[in-house]
Amino acid sequence: MSGSPSLPNFFTQKAVVGVGDLAVSNNTTVTISTYALGSCVALVVYDSVVQAGGLIHIMLPDSGLSLEKAQKQPAMFADTGIPLMFRNLMGLRVERKRLKAFVAGGASIISGADMFKIGERNIAAVKKMVNILGIPVIRADIGGVNNRTVHLNIATGEVELKKPTGISKFSLA
């Protein structure tokens, strides 16, 4: 209600997204978090007008590997998970043209055959999907050998990125 005094937020809720999972929300008490992003890639999106956003933790690039497992858990794969997240966001009255996105993860081995560079293939698959969907990626923190943790505050669109080397904060609003 306009003009109401704001109360301290005693009821902040945390939605934790596991590997191969996703969450969307327009609940301004919610922070969506994902931990231990290694070669996996997180796509984080936010629409500041409706204060809604989502996060997906993608494990593999292509559902062609196992259509059966993609049916059970579509968010595991970039090509099935990202469209699903966007369908869920549309239900929250998010508009694609207002979205801003952040991509994190895709850690990779120091050296070895291409087949082991799964992080790089995950990043390429996510880039391909956001290009198809026309989502502007305003920031990315990808590659390297570290695990990452990402939090998205639904009320503010603020993202917190944690790596062993430090914490950074920025806004998708």
Partner: protein, 279 residues
């Protein structure tokens, strides 16, 4: 500190396991039967408790509560009991937090279990005994415990070296300490009485060519360790600072990704075994 000094002073760790090394040995004998397994594991109350607890878990869902070790062995079979003894034994060691390496409570055990399950899928056919790949997966990182307790204060320098020189963690450990966690783990396992088919593939998990007749197992272990990371089970700083040796263990790319994916589903199922049963 030398490797021997480190491994000879492990007071901070639980006592050396006695049942598992003997169980690995008797599993090599094709004549081993349920009575042999019961006779061996009934000497360790913690293992008996763990076997009974897991036998009664939601995964096995017995029609009536299992209260007797012989009953558990006849219900689940020797191979499944072998896996449970591995799980209980490794859990004693691997469940804690390794702050020096940014490894959270429970993460090292979950990583090791993921490696074990992927090893079960990708290990060379005809490995004898057939539970060996699983054991290797569960025990492959046990050296990290000794390093955390004995040399944890050196890890800030080790990780700095990894990040500035772009080298793998085991190489940075060796350059800083004179040995790496694979070497330490192998020495611990050898001292505890495990046979060489356990400690040699673990010793050479980052350099499979050095493992001689076990080089394929060591190569599979390197690949399974990578696979556990792909499914999000590799906590710790610089967890991806790996160098893969491509010339030892050959597996088709699609088959490998399918194995990794299957490993993740098996891991979910295995973790359920640690939840209380619903009756």
């Amino acid at each position: 500190m030398t490797l021997s000094e480190l491994v000879d002073n492990l007071e901070a760790l639980p006592p050396a396991p006695e049942v598992l090394p003997k169980l690995v040995e008797i599993m090599k004998d094709p004549d081993t039967d349920a009575n042999d397994v019961v006779s061996l594991i009934q000497t360790d109350p913690a293992i008996v408790t763990g076997v009974l607890r897991l036998s009664n878990s939601g995964v096995y869902a017995p029609p009536s509560p299992v209260t007797d070790l012989s009953e558990a062995v006849s219900m689940l079979g020797i191979k499944e009991i072998y896996r449970i003894v591995n799980l209980v034994t490794s859990g004693d060691f691997l469940s804690g937090e390794l702050t020096s390496m940014d490894i959270h409570k429970g993460s090292l055990w979950q990583h090791s279990l993921a490696v074990a399950l992927i090893m079960d899928i990708i290990a060379p056919e005809g490995t004898d005994p057939d539970g060996l790949p699983y054991t290797l997966g569960l025990l492959h990182d046990i050296g990290k415990l000794a390093l955390h307790h004995g040399c944890g204060d050196r890890y800030a320098n080790i990780f700095r070296k990894v990040e500035t020189e772009q080298i793998s963690v085991n190489v940075a450990e060796a350059a800083t300490l004179g040995f790496d966690h694979a070497e330490v783990g192998a020495k611990m396992l050898e001292n505890w009485g495990f046979p060489e088919e356990v400690y040699l593939p673990i010793r050479y998990q980052y350099d499979p060519h050095g493992a001689g007749k076990y080089k394929e197992l060591a190569g599979a272990l390197q690949v399974a360790n990578w696979g556990a990371s792909v499914i999000g089970c590799n906590d710790g700083r610089d967890a991806w600072a790996l160098k893969m040796d491509p010339d030892v263990f050959h597996i088709d790319e699609t088959k490998l990704e399918q194995a990794v994916l299957e490993g993740r589903f098996r891991l979910e199922k295995a973790l359920k075994a640690f939840e209380p049963s619903v009756s």
